[in-house]
Every structure is written in C-alpha cells, then in structure tokens.
C-alpha cells in the first residue's frame, strides 16, 4: 500500500515536502496509526507524529487524511484511496512532520471559560439534575479536543485569534446547556461581537469530520438562538 506523507524538519528542511512510503503485508483491520507506526519502526525512525491511547479517546492523533481531518487510530486502511496522503491538521503552524502547534486552539478553548460556574452555596449532597436535563449534555461533554473540527473550518483558518472555532463553542454550549451552571448572562456577553461566534457561516465541515460524531454547528446555532432571545 502506498503512502504520501508530509515531511518537514525545521532544522534540516528549507520547505516541506511529500515523501512516499510503501508497506507490504497490510492485514485486515489495520488502522492508519498501525501503518504510521510501522513506517516509523521499519522505514524511517525520524517520522514524527502524536498518538497515545490507540482507540479514539485521548484525541492526540488528529491529522489530515486524503484531504479530510480524522484520528489515525480509528481510520481503517481499507477505507482509504491510494496513495494515502497524510498531512498535518491544516491551518495551524507545523512544528515538525505531522505535529502542529495547537496553542491557538487551546487558547480559544480556555477563553470560553470551560468550567462550571455556580454562585449558590454548595449543598451537602450532589446538586440534583433530572435525567432529562442531563441528556442535554450528551453530544457535548464527549469532545476529546483533537482539533479535527476547528482545523477543518475556513472561518477558523482566517481568524484563529478572533473566532472561537467549533471545538471551543461546543464547550461553551456544553456549559450553557448545563442546568447546574449559573453564568449564562456572563457567557453570552463574552461571546458578543462580530467574530467570536458570528464568524460561523454554517459550512458544517466540523460536523463532517468529528471523529466522535458530535455536532458543533448545532451547538453554535443554539448559542446564536440564545443570544437572540436575550435581545428581545
């Protein structure tokens, strides 16, 4: 099986280039991560990429695969057209090979105050929440922060410093939707302006690439609706 892999080592290379690798003995059920590990072990030890849990829960290995963002550990080779083109996540500075600098992405995450804010005194027992209210967090809290969505979003490519991006906004909605949170007004106020939310033009790349099947566009829509409701 043929692979074309993006290579760039700032200490050696003037510019990035694509390097071809061929692997034999592809076994059924092999994931792209298995192929990358084999290439690193057998063909070129200098290939750099992030990975850890190998089962799609840690979010380390977001990369661009044949033009679409995804996690290498849960992308079966059998689904991929050859040669498989593997690139770093688009739109973020490349540190080396498939490793990108995610600072801007994390910065936007921190900016939405991704933590529960409660003003009431803490009760002695757990705060009660009905199963119905808890259901509203499904599809939100599962985000693994792999950045596949935000780096697939043209609005984020253009304004990664101003537009919060789909991942951070999904988290923003996760707390707005939490019946326990008491900072709705503050959260919405901090999202005011032309950029933070409203750069979303519902292109929906984020929904298409999310490896956990989450829907940031819908979350952003909900935020916009809530902001509108506050105005009237």
């Amino acid at each position: 099986m043929k692979f074309l892999i993006y290579r760039y080592n700032p200490e050696k290379d003037q510019a990035p280039y694509m390097q071809e690798f061929t692997l034999d003995n592809i076994e059924p059920g092999m994931m792209l991560l298995d192929a990358l590990l084999r290439i690193k072990a057998d063909k070129d030890e200098t290939l750099s990429f992030r990975h850890s849990c190998g089962e799609g829960v840690c979010g380390s290995d977001g990369i661009n695969i044949n033009g679409s963002n995804g996690l290498s550990c849960i992308t079966p080779l059998s689904q991929l057209k050859q040669p498989v083109e593997v690139r770093p996540l688009p739109g973020l500075p490349v540190i080396r090979d498939l490793v990108v600098d995610m600072s801007q992405f994390y910065q936007q995450y921190r900016a939405v105050k991704p933590y529960l804010i409660v003003h009431d005194p803490e009760p002695e027992i757990e705060r009660l929440q009905s199963p119905h209210d808890r259901d509203k967090l499904d599809g939100l809290y599962e985000c693994i922060m792999c950045a596949c969505c935000s780096t697939a979003c043209p609005s984020f490519w253009w304004n990664p410093d101003k537009f919060r991006g789909p991942a951070a906004l999904l988290q923003s909605w996760r707390f707005l939707a939490d019946s326990r949170d008491q900072a709705t007004a503050q959260r919405l106020e901090e999202l005011e302006g032309a950029y933070k939310v409203f750069r979303c033009h519902t292109i929906m790349n984020c929904v298409n690439v999310c490896p956990k099947g989450l829907n940031p566009t819908k979350a952003i829509g909900n935020i916009k609706k809530l902001m509108l409701k506050r105005l009237i």
Partner: protein
Amino acid sequence: MSIPRKRFDTLVIGAGGGGLRAALQLSQAEANVAVVSKVFPTRSHTVAAQGGINAALANVLPDNWHWHMYDTVKGSDYLGDQDAIEYMCRAASHIVIELEHAGVPFSRLNNGKIYQRAFGGQSQDFGGEQAARTCAAADRTGHAILHTLYQQNIRAKTHFFDEFFAIDLIKDEEGYILGAVILSIETGEPYIIEAKTTLLATGGAGQIFRTNTNARINTGDGMAMALRADIPIQDMEFFQFHPTGIAGKGMLITEGARGEGGFLVNKNGERFMERYATHAKDLASRDVVSRSIAIEVREGRGCGPKGDHVLLKVDHLGADVVAKRLPGIRDTVLTFLHMDPVEKPIPVFPTAHYTMGGIPTNRYGQVVAPLGQGAEEPIPGLYAVGECACVSVHGANRLGGNSLLDIIVFGRAAGNDIIDFLKENRFHRPLDEGSVDQALSRLARWDQRGEGESVDALRQELQQTMEDYCGVFREEKVLQEGVNKVKAMEARLAAVRIQDHSSVFNTQRIEAMELENLFDVALATVTSALARQESRGAHSRVDYPERDDEHWLKHSLFYKKDHRLDFKPVRTKPLSVDSFPPKPRVY
C-alpha cells in the same frame, strides 16, 4: 552549558486525575504549582477509564463505607493496608460529591441523584447481596472526570508545562528531593525545575506487556525515576489482567458491561462463571474472572476457530440500555470488530490492565522507604499518588471502580499534606549539581550515533517476553527463565542507537527513554513474581496454588541496585474500626 531554571513550591509530574486533583488542591490554596506532563493533560490515560468511581452513596441500593471497606480488603486478598483502605472508603462519598460540584456530568437517576451501577466484588452487609456502588458518567467516567479537573485547574490558574518529559528526580546527599530535570519535547531543551515538594503522578506501566488495555504513554516513568533515585518499588508482582479486553487486540470493555447485566459464555454457550463463583457469578473479582476465562480456554472450551477466547454477551440487554449506559464500548466494538454488540456477543480475553504495585507511600501520599530507622520513613519532599504509587489500597487485586477513587482521594490528600509541608519548609534547599549532571547524562547518552539495535524491536521483544513468562498463570521455572531473559535484554540496551538526532519534537528520543523505564519496571515485576511463593490475588503460582498467610502476608520491596528484594509488614490495623482478618476468599 547553562540550563534554564524555574522555581515552584510544588512540581507535579503527570497530569492524569491524581496529578490534577492534587494540583487543584494546591492552586486553590495559592501554592505556586507546576504540572509537567509529556502529553497535553486531557490526553492522560485517566481519560480512558470507563466504568466509574466507587462511593457508598446508597443512591440505588443500601450501602455504607464500611461494607465498601470490607469488599476492598477482601478484593485485595488481604494484602491491602487497612488504614489506607478505611481512609479511602470513608472519604469516597465526599470526594464524589466534590467532583459533581466541580462539574462532572454524572449520569442521573430519576430523582436527580448520581447514577450508580453494580460492579465486580461489591456486596452489601459484608459479603451479602450485590451492591451498586459505582458512580458513572455513561461509560466515559474517566473522560468526564479528567476534563472537569483540567477545566477547574484552568480556572485556578495552575501553571502547565505541556509536552515536557521528566528525565530524573533531583536529590541531594541528605536524601531530600529537590525537583526534577525535564525536557521540552517541542524544542529539545532541558530545564531544571526546583521545587520544595515533588509529586509523582505518572500512572501505570501496562506497556511492559504486549497485549494491554493501556495507552502508549503508560511506561512507568515515575516508578523508574524512583528506582533510579534508590527508592524501592512495592508489590510489583501484582499486575491486574482485566477479564474483558477485546481478544487479540486489547481494547478495554468495561466491567460495567457485566454490571449492566452482561455475562460471559464459553463455546458451549454455557454461562461458566456460575461454576467458579456461585454467588457473584460474572461480577466476581477481576482476578477470579480472568483466571476462570484462562482455564476455560486452556481446557478446550474457548470460542472461535482457534478456541482462544470467550464471549461477552450484552446483546440481550436491548439497544436502549446499550445506547444509554454503554455507548463508548459500542463505538469501540463497531470500530475495531466491525460488529454491533447489540446484535452479537463480543470476543474477549484477559488483558494486561493495571499496576497494583508502585512507589510505596503512606495515606498522606508521602513516599516512604526503609532509611535505617524503620520500614516506612518519609522521603523528604517526595510524594506519589495514583497508579504509579502503592499506598496500598488495592493489595493483590484491585476492585473495578476503585482506581478513579484512589487517584482522587489520594491526590487530594497529598495536596493537603504538601500544603502543611510548605508551611514548615518555606525555602528552597540548595540545588545538588551532581544529581542534575546525572540526569543530563541520561539524556546525553542518546546523542550517541551509529548503527545499533532499534528501540522499537527491543521494546516488542520485552513486551512479548513479559507476556510469555509473567502472565496470568506463573511458575518457578518459567519465571526464572523470564528473569534471565529480561536481564539479558537489558544488557543489550547499551547497544541501542536512535537514528533521529533532531532537537525539535524528537519522539524517538522520548521512546528510547521510555524503553529504559520499561526495563526497570519489567525487571521489578518479574523478579518480585519469582520471589513470591504463594498465590494471592492477581499473582497465581501454579506451583504454589494456595495463599500462604503465615509466610507471605507481607509487602515486597524491589531495589534497582543488585535487584535486591526486601519485605515489610501489611498494615492490618484500620484507623477506627476492627481489622478484617484474612479469610478464605469466596465469591
């Protein structure tokens, strides 16, 4: 070479649940904390914990902490320290409620309280009916807890060093731990972190085995750092094999699958756990279920063309229960087996999962070792919590749902004890340059160029050897051969060369240092396993099938120097209640 130096009150190494819970406690007390992690915090392996966290909230069935304590002592096969177990079980309810207040999205019951499910080894009334003690956020409880703790640390403005690898501890001649030498993975630059207190929270070492449920980062870094600082590690022969890893692949299928009503069958469709554990059946302790599966397969009742696994049935639970309570494992099975567990049973086999042993600590999280005056003297300035530590609440076998509890309870306790330590130790001690140089030479070793064995090949050989010679069933001859083989392989480490000598994001150099750590931990494991001539908990000796309380009701301590073993007594006296004396362990 002048190396950048930074000073903090506390250095936390590892950003899983244990490290983050401690850091939160410290940041909220306005201590100056640095958290160093080789991966971005939410990538830490706590994220993969599925089933839940134990606490006797009694939201579903009657419960109290004393029953939880009994189950944990029994589950540990009486090797757990009963003072630490009492402390943990008493603290559990409060700790879980704190997590809820911090924002963890627990699943809920109709009355709005936290959802709790049945898990293995749990009973009401000291061995009676099944209890429901495991608080869950669907089957993503670790993810929910880890993300919440990271979020609260953002709020508390904890200082993070993301993607920095800890090379070694800094220790002075009086035995004080003064911080660590760390490496920026991104730039390749070493840093010295001077700290009045250092907390190791580096997680387990599942990567010493080939088939495991663990992430690639679980290489026992903290245990190996302790060993290199002349600190022994405790009870390493006790390694948990989780009964239900996906056969041949290793992905974890939570015990919650059985807690929700799933069960195991052999090739005859027989629910075989009824034979091994008449009372608890599929919810017996993990060591019991793993051995039962291994026996079924060995005696020819395994499933599949090779008869090498058994089947876990959840297909009778209905799509609703699976969607609501087990959505994560359904995804995993769909992704890796291309089948739906709602329709077909899941092929499973015992898989290396959890390191019961680790760096010896007391219930305050202080690292303790025999320093000449007693068996458990605190090493000044050094703390450890979670899977890298051995406090010991899990003894010879950990109960499901007790690992998340362990990291949160003792992460918090260590944070509190550090706050006290800082009040009495207000100044940094002078840095020990010799210790820094030693750490740097460990890094410099990998600058050697030329041809040599590869890191990857040697790691795979080590993992295969540990699986073959130190697995579920063990015996003298095989273990001795295992010790010899691992020692011989360790000698080959010196001839290993890496081909990547870049500074920037050099993952190969990190893997090389991780391999050194794996060797230290693997040797501790197989050496301790050879020494212990009895069967207790997860340590099953075919040649010594019985538990031997007369000779072996004691903790083992392994030292790196000369691979020496020492022993210390089990703390059988709880804090306030009567102790649970050893009894035959029946489920």
